[in-house]
Symmetry: C2
Subunit: 219 residues, 2 copies
DNA sequence: TAATAAAATTAGGTAAGCCTAAAAATATTT
DNA sequence: AAATATTTTTAGGCTTACCTAATTTTATTA
């Protein structure tokens, strides 16, 4: 059996592998959990001995296929739970992350499959991240960031590229949510901020930083 | 913060206090968890130091009000999750116990309240056990066991007085489920078994033992 | 390339929650 | 009430997943 701590390591390695485009140094893991480096060394040794990742001393780790499979399964659980919390229990999307972190460690394939069916096999979670299917396939999002958008075009918000609660709450204030229709009126050449209309009502400027965090598709 | 292990102890003490009508010896807890007695001694000391229960050496334990409050909250969570699994995700009632044991330890009042609302504030879980309300009030079931029923009367099954999977599966075979209408045709004086009709179809005999496990109300 | 800085590992330690073996307390039987 | 049986506790250990301090390895800069 695999422990909650082990699952969290695999999930973190999975995430960092893509972010860093390769081997994950132990320090990156320590930072991501806010724990001390030696704790990570211990744990990656254990996971390596379980063949869930490959560990090269002083270099870092890579997931094995076995480890990646588990990591993806956890990501799937996390995103399905988030979808359930927002879609069915009407939580706000900025409230669900911590809860999903707990729920993702409930051991039951059957439970997740039933939830998935109940939710109508959603492809994207409330943060806009793609939900891996039962076999671990992750459907690539064709989304771009709003920053990449063109003035004069209209986009639909399908996700957020950050887990920052601050950002989510800021967007809530602006009445921007999943599905919001964003029309780019203009781009300020000075700071690359965007003047946008939200759901056809003039809204004002979004900084380039914010625009870069908004995943959109053509509307 | 309270750990999963601690929560399980409080839940078990709560259950055993009613079953044994008073102080719970440490041995009863050891038995209920299938662990060794010394482990229990350690844990009850810790819980006593947290004022969640009162511990009299070599005598046993009783919940404090603080401890009971937590225990009831866990029972509430467990039963709401069971209800959700059966009512919404269409699990069979004999499949949900183990899952609810995991879900009950997810820390979030808000989550349970929203589930409760989503489910329409159910009063009774799929095993027929009453669901404590937000304040910990447990509505007494007015149910009797089928064994207490009278020949010639009709009853509706609202619950089961056992957590035995065997019993639940046996009832499934007989096509007896929550809501089934049971008409007592006759009682065998030899062994107190009951001849019943299930949902108006002649079914045959239920032993006194089974009848005693079926919670019913007048239909 | 040698010196220094940064990152990672080794070594030894802690708390939680379980364990076994032995001792002590309580209950039961004669 | 003494002897025996049962239950509970004490004492000391183990594993998991973390810790700090010291050392070693790797990277950077002079």
């Amino acid at each position: 059996m695999i422990s909650t701590a082990e699952e969290n390591y695999l999930k973190a390695v999975f995430k960092l592998e893509t972010e860093l485009q390769g081997t994950v140094p132990t320090g990156a893991l320590a930072q991501s959990f806010n724990i001390q480096a030696p704790s990570v060394t211990d744990m990656v040794k254990k996971l390596a001995s379980k063949k869930l990742l490959r560990y090269e001393k002083s270099k870092g780790v890579r997931l094995t296929d076995k480890g990646r499979k588990i990591a993806v399964a956890i990501v799937r659980k996390h995103r399905i739970w988030e979808t359930f919390l927002v879609q069915t229990l009407e939580f706000r999307w900025d409230e669900v992350h911590a809860l999903a972190e707990q729920l993702e460690h409930v051991h039951s394939e059957e439970l997740i499959d039933r939830l998935d069916t109940f939710l109508g096999h959603p492809k994207i979670d409330p943060h806009g991240d793609p939900i891996p299917d039962k076999n671990g396939k992750i459907q690539a999002t064709r989304a771009i960031t709003l920053k990449m958008g063109e003035p004069g075009n209209t986009y639909k918000l399908i996700g957020i590229r950050e887990d920052s609660i601050e950002l989510l709450q800021f967007l809530n204030k602006l009445k921007i949510g999943l599905g919001s229709v964003l029309f780019i009126e203009d781009r300020e050449s000075f700071d690359q901020s965007l003047r946008v209309k939200v759901d056809n009502k003039a809204q004002g400027f979004l900084s380039a930083i914010v625009a870069n965090a908004l995943l959109v598709v053509d509307a």
